[in-house]
């Protein structure tokens, strides 16, 4: 998230991750540091790190 809000802040960025607990996939799309798409929608995003 640190990259999304700094080095890549002016770009369209997709991040693929997985739930820490279940391993289920997490798909995030950012544009200009702002969240454009969350899958699953219940995903919590902490911009700036972590």
């Amino acid at each position: 998230m640190l990259l999304v809000s700094s080095e890549l802040k002016d770009k369209a960025v997709t991040v693929d991750d997985a739930s820490q607990y279940s391993g289920a996939g997490i798909h995030l799309v950012f544009e200009n540091s702002r969240v454009k798409q969350l899958d699953p929608p219940s995903t919590k995003v902490f911009l700036g790190g972590g």
Partner: protein, 197 residues
């Protein structure tokens, strides 16, 4: 030469032999030979790791470099990374496993290690396929590769899955600066994907 001097010299020589062996072991890291195309992937990774927060792994590096690569190629590069931690600080900080395993292998290892720590039965191969949204064949292949790297081992006593983590350090891998079985893949529009820590 007096007896005292002879005994002293003998003891000195005996001390030098193991010291010399230890020095030789630390001075010359174990190297296996990579083919030209495997070396190309390694060079790509080392260059990638010089960029901020990057830790692009073997599988994605092979994809980005292009061409035909097999699981045997990834195994060869993974073993090379394991045997040569001097190659890059990223490797020494996060470990060869982080740069070598695929996202699916990491997720399986992460879930099995957690189940072992919490004394719970791990998911079956069929359950893994459903959770990770991959084919049963992909789960089976991931388990075989984890076994080949010595991270998991077959154990018929583990009901259904029949695999367990091979060492305690793979069961208790989480902690500060330890991302052994974690994966974050990033795609910037118009650029090749990469992985970060």
């Amino acid at each position: 030469m007096s007896w005292r001097r002879l005994i002293t010299a003998t003891i000195f020589v005996w001390m030098l032999v193991p010291l010399g062996q230890i020095a030789a072991q630390t001075a010359s890291p174990v190297t296996t030979t990579l083919t030209d195309k495997q070396q190309k992937v390694l060079d790509y990774m080392l260059n990638d790791w010089n960029k901020q927060m990057r830790i692009t792994g073997v599988e994605l590096a092979m994809q980005n470099v292009g061409g035909q690569y097999s699981p045997d190629d990834r195994y060869a590069i993974g073993v090379f990374l394991r045997n040569n931690p001097h190659l890059h600080r990223t490797l020494r900080t996060f470990g060869w496993e982080t740069a070598t395993l695929t996202p699916t292998e990491k997720l399986i290892a992460r879930i099995v290690s957690r189940a072992e720590r919490e004394n719970e039965p791990p998911p079956t191969q069929e359950e893994f396929a459903r959770i990770l949204e991959v084919s049963p064949h992909a789960v089976s292949g991931a388990l075989k590769m984890l076994e080949r790297f010595g991270i998991m081992r077959p154990d018929a006593a583990v009901k259904d899955l029949a695999y367990r983590m091979s060492e305690d350090r793979y069961q208790d891998w989480e902690g500060a600066m330890r991302i052994t079985f974690m994966n974050h893949r990033v795609q910037v529009e118009g650029e090749k994907p990469f992985e970060v820590f």
